[in-house]
């Protein structure tokens, strides 16, 4: 299952989605088995994240409203990266921000100490910046162009399916120099507290519930000209394979690891079988 992606060799096509495995420093057997890990979103400044409850279960899915809790890029560079270097997997740093300067700053600060970047312009859980850039082709293209000037490493842009056409945004990002597109980030969602009669949590929906929507989005973007990392609701090798059929070069698994931190190992194994079947078929 080895593949070459963005000029880098990956062990396999199953990657860990941003935000569900921290920095990959726990469950190292899992981290070291996947093709790459996308870190939890990093911002220029440290962020304490949102108050509880941050998680809410829904039918075949969940809403999260973590709010980009992270120690900030300085701490990340000084204390986390040295540890990441010891992992036997590729590291893509998920970069979030509230202004264009912040994205640029974080990319520059991290430099070439990692394997690449995933620009998160699609997080629904913060008030300013972030998703607003990802919902507007012009702004998306500016964020990408500015980050592009600061790094030669692979630059992936993570897109939202919320209230905008990912194909339009993807095209703008590729034109501005993106090496890859990853999608989908979580879907806008609200849950109500029926006792207090007000919203309990407003955040991003993930998990199997969104898989059909995610497959639609990946398929829509498939001809954009750069590799696509597909994600959204993958819980099995078959799901992963469906994303490859939809046009993804690799997949990322997210919420399923909350249900089972070892799921990526199983998914890698299952996906291998599908790919083997297919190549056998092709012979």
């Amino acid at each position: 299952m080895k593949i070459k992606l963005f000029g880098t060799h990956l062990k396999n096509r199953v990657l860990l989605a941003s935000g569900v495995f921290g920095f990959g420093l726990k469950f190292k057997r899992v981290t070291n088995s996947v093709g790459a890990i996308f870190t939890k979103g990093i911002t220029a400044q440290p962020r304490k994240g949102n108050p509880p409850p941050r998680i809410y279960e829904t039918s075949s899915g969940m809403i999260n409203w973590v709010g980009l809790e992270n120690p900030g890029v300085e701490y990340f560079c000084t204390n986390i990266i040295p540890q990441l270097k010891k992992l036997k997997t590729r590291i893509f740093v998920n970069i979030a921000g509230f202004t264009m300067d912040e994205y640029e700053h974080s990319v520059e600060r991290i430099g070439d100490t990692v394997d690449g970047f995933e620009l998160n312009i699609s997080c629904p859980n913060v008030k300013e910046g972030g998703i607003a850039f990802g919902q507007n082709a012009k702004m998306a293209s500016m964020v990408v162009a500015r980050a592009r000037k600061k790094t030669r490493l692979p630059l992936i842009v993570k897109l939202t399916p919320n209230f905008c056409d990912p194909l339009v945004i993807a095209k703008a990002c590729v034109e501005a120099g993106a090496d890859g597109i990853s999608l989908i980030n979580t879907v806008y969602a609200t849950a109500y507290d029926i006792k207090k009669r007000k919203p309990l949590i407003t955040g991003g929906l993930s998990g199997p519930a969104i898989k059909p929507f995610a497959l639609y989005c990946v398929n829509r973007v498939r001809n954009v000209g750069v590799p696509i990392i597909g994600m959204g609701g993958i819980v099995s090798g078959q799901d992963a394979y469906e994303f490859l059929l939809a046009g993804a070069s690799a997949v990322a698994v997210g919420s399923v690891v909350l249900r089972d931190p070892y799921a990526p190992l199983r998914i890698i194994k299952e996906l291998k079988k599908f790919i083997y079947q297919e190549t056998k078929h092709a012979r």
């Binding site: 935000g19 569900v20 495995f21 921290g22 726990k26 469950f27 939890k40 304490k48 994240g49 949102n50 108050p51 509880p52 409850p53 941050r54 998680i55 809410y56 279960e57 829904t58 039918s59 075949s60 899915g61 969940m62 999260n64 973590v66 809790e69 998990g207 199997p208 519930a209 819980v235 919420s255 690891v257 909350l258 249900r259 089972d260 931190p261 070892y262």
Partner: protein
């Protein structure tokens, strides 16, 4: 660790609370630690349910589950000899101090405190077990608690037996003899307890909606000493005074 364990014994403790026993050698759990219990293979419910260790003795693990909603309801239909998938034990839990203590349980909060009582009993640490529930029927594990505790007090809000809540009961107690309090129950109880400002350290067993249960997703948070801690990874036991309850 992911484990698929067979239910050795299933016991109904009250009309909505049941216990599942498993054989699980080779772990050294601490009170407060819990397992993430897979409800079933379906994607609805999607997340696992955190359930505390209620007893661990002679390689026998006991989980006690109160039926609350969808997940615990489905789990309540499991039978002996069926398999259950568990992840854990997760959480830091606590190492009980060698000091005379009060164990203060509200409702199903009795589960982890029962395990703590077991530890105290084995190590011969004296303790009082103060346990409150809505009605007398909901008081479970009474014999075991009476057997282990130096003193045990059961209070109920309605019905027969001593009336009141654990918070009102502890308020009326002479605490000079005790060095420490461990409390587990609904958040409203913990908040009321916090407001008492008892003159001795109180350790609270906290709850929240959990995602992973093991420090990966940052989905659980508790404002503690001015920063967010993970309930699952840093707790679920925290010093009550330092908690800032937000929800």
């Amino acid at each position: 660790m992911i484990r698929s364990l067979s239910i050795i014994k299933k016991t109904w403790f009250s009309k909505n609370t049941f216990g599942l026993e498993f054989s699980l050698p080779g772990i050294k759990p601490r009170p407060g630690q819990f397992f993430q219990v897979r409800v079933n293979d379906s994607m609805d419910p999607f997340l696992n349910r955190p359930i505390s260790i209620a007893s661990y003795s002679g390689n026998r693990l006991l989980l006690i589950i109160k039926i609350i909603g969808k997940g615990t309801n489905i789990l309540s239909k499991r039978r002996e000899r069926e398999q259950v998938t568990l992840f854990g034990p997760y959480g830091k839990g606590i190492v009980p101090k060698r000091q005379k203590s009060i164990l203060l349980a509200g409702g199903i909060g009795v589960a982890p405190l029962h395990f703590l009582a077991q530890m105290h009993y084995k190590r011969k640490i004296p303790f009082t077990f103060l346990y409150g529930a809505k009605t007398y029927d909901e008081i479970i594990l009474k014999a075991s608690i009476k057997h282990m505790a130096n003193r045990s007090i059961f209070v109920t809000e309605y019905g027969s037996g001593r009336r009141g809540t654990v918070v009102s009961a502890v308020k009326g107690m002479d605490l000079s003899d005790y060095a420490i309090v461990y409390a587990c129950g609904p958040q409203a109880m913990l908040i009321a307890l916090q407001q008492l400002h008892l003159p001795l350290p109180v350790y609270a067993f906290c709850e929240d909606f959990l995602g992973c249960g093991c420090g990966l997703c940052l989905g659980c948070a508790i404002m503690y000493n001015g920063t967010y801690k993970r309930i699952c990874e840093d707790g679920p036991v925290f010093e009550l005074e330092r908690i800032h309850f937000e929800n």
